[in-house]
């Protein structure tokens, strides 16, 4: 299937795009994580994507690269949506932060860090956002033990 949007991105970053697909108008670009920031800047500055709707991650253990960062963009000018995904390896879970481009990425990235342990380079304040200080590990990782609890105060007997 040809899509103007996917073609534009593919021809702009021919070496960084791993895959593109479209399903019933849902367009997705899979790209290398090194290219995430410049692709996002291109979307914002040249293609009119003015809204970062969501940024999250997924854990595909035991696949390698294990994580996938998922960003959803929306253009209110063109009423158009696009999903960017990039694989992130477990040994070096670092990605460039989108916060310099969209301030709204700040808390999304803190959540992805809190839940999956993905580090966002260039983030102004990368702390846990949901779990408390002293919590160890990242609970949405598939290898986080299902029954592990980390109480803040001792439980009654």
């Amino acid at each position: 299937m040809t899509s103007y949007l996917l073609e534009t991105i593919r021809s702009k970053f021919p070496d960084d795009i791993l895959e593109t697909h479209a399903f019933r108008g849902d367009e997705t670009v899979l790209l290398k994580k090194e290219a995430l920031l410049k692709a996002a800047a291109f979307l914002k500055d040249d293609l009119g994507f003015d809204f970062l709707m969501d940024l999250t991650a997924a854990d595909y253990l035991p696949r390698e690269p294990r994580f996938e960062l998922v960003c959803h963009f929306y253009s209110s000018k063109h009423n158009y949506r696009l999903r960017l995904k990039c694989p992130v390896g477990a040994d070096d879970p670092k990605v460039d932060s989108l916060t310099p481009l969209w301030a709204g990425a700040n808390w999304f990235e803190r959540e992805a860090y809190d839940m999956y342990g993905i580090k966002f380079e260039g983030h102004p304040d990368l702390r846990r956002i949901l779990m408390y200080d002293g919590f160890e590990g990242h609970p949405l990782r598939k290898d986080y033990p299902l029954k592990q609890r980390q109480p803040r105060i001792p439980h009654r007997g």
Binding site: P139, R149, P151, R152, H155
Partner: protein, 161 residues
């Protein structure tokens, strides 16, 4: 109450129990510790259709220091547990705790890294209300059960040492 230290278990203190318990059970001031969806049901018990005031439990107090009954309404997670404990510790005796809905009672279906598997892991509970959320009738039933429980207590009891 002072008297019991002089008289111990005697006619005087049993009569005193009857009077004190009668007063206590028909004038519960509650502290609603509302964290989740069960709160809607809690509100409806207060509204005119179910009207919990008919049972003397008229007044939600938003200071734990003025409350007798702690209603824990909704999901409590590990992050919140110290707050719940502190609210409970701030209440003056005599005090009672009602666990409202399955989340507060057992964690409900949230068997995960974040959720306390029942508030009785944090504080003692007197009455548990099952349901997700419980119907208002179940809450009135729980209140009546709590009244029955209170009417059997003695001023000599030292529940919380």
């Amino acid at each position: 109450m002072g008297l019991e230290t002089i008289f111990g278990h005697s006619y005087l203190t049993t009569r005193l129990d009857a009077a004190v318990n009668w007063g206590r059970k028909y004038s519960f001031f509650q502290y609603p510790f509302v964290t989740a969806c069960c709160g809607m049901e809690y509100m409806s018990v207060f509204a005119s259709a179910y009207d919990i005031a008919r049972f003397g439990a008229e007044y939600p107090r938003f200071s734990p220091r003025q409350a007798d009954v702690l209603f824990v309404v909704g999901t409590v997670n590990e992050k919140l547990a110290p707050v719940l404990k502190r609210v409970y510790d701030q209440m003056c005796e005599p005090k009672w705790v009602v666990s409202f809905g399955v989340c507060a009672t057992s964690g409900g279906f949230y068997d995960n890294y974040a959720t306390v598997q029942g508030i009785d892991k944090i504080i003692p509970v007197d009455i548990y209300i099952p349901g997700c959320p419980p119907r208002p009738e179940a809450i009135l039933d729980a209140l009546i059960k709590l009244q029955e429980k209170v009417s059997k207590e003695s001023v000599l009891d030292r529940k919380y040492k």
